[in-house]
Amino acid sequence: MDFIYNKHYIQTNERGEIVNGFSDAFRQPSEGDICINEQGGYQFRLFPDGEENPPLFDFPSMIPLYKYENGEVKHRTEEELAADRQAWREEQERLAAMPTREDRIEAQVTFTAMMTDTLLPEEDEDDV
């Protein structure tokens, strides 16, 4: 009996990592999208018997968990993921070390007050 099949597509980045996946029940593919299943169900799956609408990214780093290599969808290796997580952590530490927007505003206010001799005295703890 004829049946309604859906095609499943993925999108990859320049490193071949899968950054999006969808069923044509919900959207039509664009040029460059890769069809990985021509007789799929309504919901997207990376693998024929795999989870429906699986998370494609690590949390909270948002590192891609899968890659498309030699015509196959594969899990990225632990080594690949570990390297990306390390890079992400270093980036987070670098961002944390940078002055925030509030820090910059406070510094600007302090500098202006000093230059105009309007710097407020330190708060006396007894006044708190």
């Binding site: 069923s23 169900g41 909270p60």
Partner: protein
Amino acid sequence: MAIPAPNYVQGKYTVAQRDELFDRIREYPEAAGGLVNQVPTLTAEGTIIWRQQSSGGGDGTANANIAVVEDTSTASQAHAVGDLLVFSGQLYRVTEAIDQGDTITPGTNVAPTTVADELNEKIDIPENSGTVGQVLTKTENGSEWADNTGGVTSFNSRTGTVVPQDGDYDADMVGAVPVVGKGINLLDNWYFPNPVNQRDGYVTKPTAQWYTAADTGLTNPLGEIGYWAKVLSTTSTYAVCTTPTGDTTFLVAIGDIVPGYTGAGYGIDRWLSNQGSYQLTADGLVSGADTLWTVQRFEADKIEIGQPYTISIVIDGKLLTKTDVIESTATTITVGSADDGSIALAYSAGWFFQIVTYKSQTIKPPKVEKGSTQTAYTNIGTDANPNWVLADPPPNFAVELAKCQRYQVVYRTDDAMYRRFAFGMWINANSLDVVVHTPVELRANPLVVVNDIIIFNPGPAIATVTWGDSGARSGNAVYINCSSTDSYTAGTMAEICTNNVAGSYLLLDANL
């Protein structure tokens, strides 16, 4: 309870007394023991046990003797065949006529009998109990059971000695519950007159006049559409519609749209159309002129291999029903025609039930049930002019809604209100985590479909984000990650709400 012995002997009983006597014996069988015990003591020749025979006679006590007591083996009087007599403490029935002075010889002209056997005549145990399985009945009130002539007037056109045979009874005749199955409808959201309809779809009437998308005043009608077009959004005066290809929008007057769906995709909850259109009416679904093909997919445990299943539906007043045993996933149960429409229970990457019509027809509620008897519809008309009415009561709407919300949940508004339905938190400057609570646990990780959802960050500031396509289930909640090219303060909260225009929604789609 024993009946006082003197009551049995030598007396006249009124009809009331007789009835009371035998009623009490019937009610208290042990009471017969009083008579049984009495018989051996009856020795005085000529003593007569009386019984009331009929209600005739001036005083209502026309009596007949039950038995005469003989004190020796020489008969003191004549006895006719069938009479009872007591001799040497034993009750006998006369088997050969006895004249006065004849010798009473047990086994020759009398046969021993018992009070219990004689009482059977009064307590309606049929003398002729027929053959095994034979249908017996009374010929008239109070008379004996009978068989053959006079027993059964007719049964399924047969008379006389009627024995049940194949075909005498069917489930409808006896109101039987099917041996296999309980008449439960395995479909979700099958009650088409009032279906669960979370997507709240609308279509145009084919006769609607259409206007260009810019003609919001509806001043220049451009003719009838001629087909059922999908409605994208509405205002109080017009509806924005789209062509089947989805590449052009146009307007129709708000009064020219009706609840319904057109094209491929999910319509009312649980029903996925491959093609065609239908309108929702109080009578059920009304399909469009072109082919409608809509299916409901089942989860794996719905259909059992080796069991019989029955599918039923009424399309344009005609009952389509078919039963078959599901031998394997290769089995297909199907019934119908191009003229009548068709239904099928089949397997292809999972079991599904489908409805197909090839012209505009009214589609009543379908049923898929385990068992070989259709219990969906009852004919209250005649065979020649049937009138099929739904035998099942309408389902509990709340239960159906909960079942449907296992597969999809829609948060929407159709009025000018911002409706909050979830909260989010910026986990860093460019990433917003949104947690949406769901009425029931979704079947699977849902696809997230967003249309015109607002994020107050917090209000009145509005954040601009790109919604993640899929949500991860977490019990009765779904987590969705949104990203933004703008920067926001990590740790701050955001309110997620519908916009204040009709057509704003967030859909969690975990359909099969």
